[in-house]
């Protein structure tokens, strides 16, 4: 009996040792942030009213609903959303943060002629584009309560701004061209060092209690090939100003360009405007060095809309 017991103890010890023979991956060693080569430290810019200033009346109810949709469209605009992103994924602080494409930067600039549609679009039509592309869903029809609430939220936030005047902090910063052509391998190094902790080694983000905490950066649950974020310039500007979260402007410009290229050199859902073939779709909608759609990276032709290479 005694020998059986000791055998069991040995077995369990051996087993415990085997079970845990894989070394724990050490968290990345923190090091001093690299100096930024061009930190667009915010000059003075428009300050939107605080959330506490949302009026307690029927107008305010639409403002508050717009904010809720903005923060959790998968819940409050479910019929029009096809991925795990929220508006807030790319427009930080509930659409209020300068250099993170704030709503107050966009609202006063519409109606506007857009080269993307070759037409003059209203703000509501611009919001439809967000659902079609960034949310990989379908556009709410004009006049839909979702669009009304979102537009009301943007209007409320922009009170006091001049119409038709581009404000400092609008959109994402435009970085100067990088010294070195953006590169997949260098971008992967930046990704592993500065991004994977939150967005995961495979870029698919992390969820908790059914809620997206860190958004997926590519793949079936991310924005599709028609979204503005697929342009490397937009992604580089957003990343430089805002990532890692709360530590914007700590990456160098080159790191931001490289990791933006790396992110956008992965597969994502098909462009809903796809017609005939990838080359034809590239020619029609992605005819710029800024888009990797229809190009071949690491032997993979991007734009197939399938699994990640």
């Amino acid at each position: 009996m005694k020998s059986k017991t000791s055998a069991l103890i040995i077995a369990t010890l051996v087993l415990a040792a085997c079970e845990h023979s894989t070394p724990q991956t050490a968290a990345p060693v923190a090091k001093a942030p690299a100096p930024a080569s061009s930190a667009p430290k915010s000059a003075s810019h428009f300050t939107p009213p605080p959330e506490s200033a949302i009026p307690n009346d029927d107008f305010g109810k639409q403002v508050a609903l717009g904010r809720q949709i903005f923060m959790d469209p998968g819940k409050y605009a479910k019929a029009y959303v096809g991925n795990q992103l929220s508006c807030e994924s790319c427009h930080l602080d509930a659409g209020r943060l300068a250099h993170s494409a704030p709503l107050w930067g966009a609202y006063p600039m519409y109606p506007a002629y857009r080269s993307k549609t070759h037409d003059v679009n209203t703000f509501a039509e611009r919001l439809q584009g967000c659902f079609n592309y960034s949310m990989n869903g379908k556009a709410p029809p004009l006049g839909d309560p979702v669009l009304v609430a979102l537009e009301t939220y943007a209007y409320w936030m922009s009170k006091g701004e001049p119409i038709g005047t581009s404000q400092p902090g609008r959109s994402y910063p435009k970085l100067s061209k990088p010294a070195l052509t953006p590169d997949y391998a260098r971008g992967e190094t930046v990704f592993k060092r500065d991004c994977a902790l939150c967005h995961g080694d495979n870029g698919q983000g992390q969820q908790a209690a059914g809620h997206t905490v860190f958004p997926p950066l590519w793949g079936p649950q991310s924005f599709n090939w028609g979204a503005g974020m697929e342009l490397v310039t937009n992604a580089a500007g957003f990343i430089k100003a805002n990532m890692p979260l709360g530590r914007g402007n700590t990456l160098t410009d080159q790191d931001a360009w490289d990791v933006a290229y790396f992110m956008n050199a992965h597969e994502r859902p098909q462009d809903p405007r796809y017609k005939d073939s990838i080359p034809a779709t590239r020619a029609a909608f992605h005819d710029t060095p800024d888009s990797l759609y229809g190009t071949t990276v690491n032997g993979h032709l991007l734009g197939q809309g399938g699994a990640s290479p």
Binding site: S3, K4, A7, L8, I10, A11, T12, L13, V14, L15, A16, A17, C18, E19, H20, Q24, A26, A27, P28, A30, P33, T47, E51, R67, Q68, F70, M71, D72, K75, Y76, L92, D93, A94, R96, L97, D194, L197, C198, G200, Q206, Q207, A208, A209, G210, H211, V213, F214, P244, L245, G246, R247, G248
Partner: protein, 220 residues
């Protein structure tokens, strides 16, 4: 015959899986220490792993296994300092740290001790910082990394609920002063550097007053 028995027993152990073995070894160390220098964990962290609020000893039950393991390693190699925990962690072998991390990560989350009702202004500030942040100072909301309701996310972002205000306050001060610096990518040092004394008091009190382990209906 004896060899056959041993082989059979090893198979049984394999079939049973390592979990029960880990759990029983972890429970033994937690309750009795390891017999060569590591005191019983429960003396400070409680029989249920819920910690001791008044003393600021943290809850361990239900924390991510990888996070617990990293903290033990960090105490052992002095990259996280604590007069109490460093000698304990140094006295634990690699395998013992593994079984303890596994044991505590699988314990059910105990109900937190009742905390006094919060003053309105403290509750309001705590909730704003927890759920909104203060982006005028590039301060993200706590839950943007620690998850809705502060329930924790993945291996690197531990739950904040079920921790005492004393523990949360102590750690925020330690990040702020640089005496704790084992955070990946200096994320917590960066965040804590943007907090005032009133902010720290409000966040600590607010999270201590939240239900533990129960995902709240998120209020965007």
């Amino acid at each position: 015959m004896k060899q056959t028995v041993i082989a059979l027993l090893m198979c049984c152990a394999l079939w049973a899986g390592a979990t029960s073995a880990d759990t029983s070894q972890g429970a033994t160390i937690a309750q009795q220490g390891n017999g060569h220098g590591a005191a019983p964990c429960m003396a400070c962290h409680g029989a249920d792993g819920g910690g001791q609020a008044a003393a600021g000893f943290p809850r361990l039950a239900g924390l991510p296994e990888a996070y617990l393991r990293k903290q033990l390693d960090d105490f052992a190699n002095s990259s996280r300092t604590s007069a109490t925990m460093q000698p304990v962690a140094m006295a634990l072998s690699d395998a013992e740290r593994d079984v303890l991390a596994a044991y505590y990560s699988k314990l059910p989350v105990p109900a937190p001790a009742a905390s006094p009702p919060l003053k309105d202004d403290v509750a309001q500030l705590g909730q704003v910082l927890a759920t909104r942040g203060r982006w005028s100072n590039t301060l993200p909301a706590c839950e943007q990394c620690h998850g809705p309701g502060g329930i924790g996310v993945g291996d690197h972002f531990p739950p904040l609920t079920g921790q005492s205000s004393t523990y949360i306050g102590n750690e925020l001060h330690a990040w702020q002063q640089g005496s704790r610096h084992n955070d990946p990518q200096q994320l917590m040092q960066s965040v804590a550097g943007k907090l005032s004394e009133a902010d720290i008091a409000a966040i600590s009190a607010w999270y201590a007053a939240q239900p533990a382990g129960v995902p709240k209906e998120s209020q965007p």
